[in-house]
Amino acid sequence: MDQSLDQYIELAAKALDLPIEPDWLPAIKANLEVTLRLGKEVASLALPDAAEPACVFEA
């Protein structure tokens, strides 16, 4: 995972045309690891296929 995330960041930066300096990588990776973990936590709750996203949200 560790090395594959390094590769992912490198490829994503290229694909998105984001200039990244080598010394920024550890912090970007740390942030990405946390956010991916939290994203997986959200995605691990099974919701029905018909569940609607709340992109335009009304409380």
């Binding site: 956010t35 939290l38 936590e41 709340a54």
Partner: protein, 465 residues
């Protein structure tokens, strides 16, 4: 009038002719000049504008015209609000190159229509991606109760300016906790209204799905005065609800009789320092409630807010990340770059979960009217502090001060943060109500304030001034 006069007292004195609006404005400007060097709350002071507005108020009174509910009340705004004639910084270096705003944000216009007097723009964390109040471009906002400590953010200058007695009201923004966190760490009252209640027109966005605006003040009544003046639909904000104005001020004195109040358990009890739990206990005891409710999947709600924030924030700044990456605060830049690389599927899932979670929490509000929870896990940390120990685990401080605010703003619930004056530093408690029931949270806050359970403490350095 001294630095600690409330908005209500100031407006009454100006309307009654016991004080002129110009004298009030000059006193506020003098306090800013005297005190701001120690707390770094202001990034711009609108002296000429303030005096012109105050002169107009005094002239209107002299002509016998009625003055508004906030006549002569000085206020300031987080520097992501458009102020005509100023570039809207949003805490950034990059936005300094923007042309000056040509019109005020809607909420500024509404406060001024009620007679309030804008005296300046306030420091904030860069692009609002912050819970600390630190800013590498303008220097950190400093906590008036201990200037070696954080105000909390991202509305850090709001916390400092109001807690320091420079203004009685400030307007901030709250995407994940940025009103409630500085309110907690600076010992203030803060209102994050229901998502869609107050217009966000002509303010610099952060996360459109989660952005709210609202006031910070030193009393519940001042929150309600400002809130009532700012309500109402605004076609310039597509999210602003088509609801009639529902004044909160007339409801404040109704007390808590008949209200069903509970304490949030589970997630909201974990990780908190003793002071945070002590503050909630003190308020629960004063309200005579032992009822505990669990918000289902609160940790997941916080995670989903985190993901939406990362992706929408990155999308907003993508072009600036490509062309101006060196001009960001590195801490903000690296979070945004990581957000740009998240798969879209995770953001969509987070938005689906948001609707599901809203429905689950709505069921709780069938049984209770308000829920109490900590606002922050701790009192104000030292400036520069990077880590926080929660439940024995060292965690990065910057994202984790909003641990208890994120699951609430994620579904747009109205919250009043109230200050519990523990020594030596204050800490806040969230009073959370059902959607569109700001009045309930404000009623409870007022009852607690009347009973002296909550109050905005005056900083020792300016206690008698």
């Amino acid at each position: 009038m001294n630095a600690w006069a409330t908005s209500g007292e100031i407006a009454q004195a100006v309307r009654g002719g016991q004080a002129s609006a110009v004298a009030i404005a000059e006193a506020a400007l003098a306090r800013i000049a005297e005190r701001d060097g120690r707390i770094n709350a202001f990034t711009a002071v609108t002296r000429e504008r303030a005096l012109a507005k105050a002169q107009a108020l005094d002239a209107a009174r002299a002509r016998g015209e009625p003055l508004g509910a906030l006549a002569g009340v000085p206020f300031a705004v987080k520097n992501l609000f458009d102020v005509a004639g100023l570039a809207t910084l949003a805490g950034s270096k990059i936005n300094r190159e923007h042309a000056p705003a040509t019109a005020d944000a809607t909420l500024i216009a509404r406060l001024e229509a009620a007679g309030a007097v804008l005296v300046g723009a306030l420091n904030m964390g860069e692009y609002a991606y912050d819970f600390t109040g630190e800013n590498v471009h303008d220097g950190p906002s400093r906590n008036p109760h201990d200037t070696s400590r954080m105000t909390g953010g991202s509305s850090g200058g709001c916390g400092g300016a109001v807690a320091g007695g420079l203004v009685p009201i400030a307007l901030g923004s709250d995407t994940n906790g940025s009103i409630r966190v500085p309110a907690s760490l600076c010992g203030l009252f803060g209102l994050k209204p229901t998502y869609g209640r107050l217009s966000r027109a002509r303010t610099f966005p952060f996360v459109a799905s989660l952005d709210h605006l609202g006031p910070l003040a030193r009393s519940t009544r001042d929150l309600a005065l400002a809130y009532d003046a700012m309500q109402g639909h605004d076609a310039d904000d597509p999210v602003c609800a088509r609801r009639s104005i529902e004044p909160a001020l007339p409801c404040l004195a109704r007390g808590t009789a008949g209200l069903r109040i509970a304490v949030a358990g589970g997630y909201f009890k974990r990780g908190a320092f003793a002071q945070a739990l002590q503050a909630v206990d003190r308020i629960a005891k004063a309200l005579d409630t032992t009822h505990v409710v669990e918000l289902p999947e609160a940790a997941r709600a916080r995670a989903a807010a985190y993901v939406i924030t990362a992706t929408e924030g990155a999308a907003l700044h993508l072009d600036r990340l490509r062309t101006r990456a060196d001009d960001f605060d590195p801490t903000v830049r690296d979070r945004l770059l990581a957000g740009a690389m998240l798969p879209a599927s995770l953001a969509v899932q987070a938005h689906k979960f948001r609707r599901w979670y809203r429905d689950q929490v709505a069921k709780i509000f069938d049984r209770v009217d308000a829920i109490l929870a900590p606002a922050t896990p701790c009192t104000a940390p030292e400036l520069g502090q990077k880590m926080l120990v929660l439940d024995g685990v060292a965690m990065p401080l910057r994202p984790n001060i909003g641990l208890y605010t994120q699951p609430i703003s994620f579904i747009g619930l109205p919250v009043v943060a109230v200050p519990v004056p523990l020594g030596p530093l204050p800490i806040g408690v969230q009073i959370i109500a059902a959607p569109w029931r700001e009045d309930v949270a404000l009623r409870i806050a007022q009852a607690l304030e009347t009973a002296a359970v909550v109050q905005a403490p005056r900083p020792q350095q300016w206690k008698d001034a």
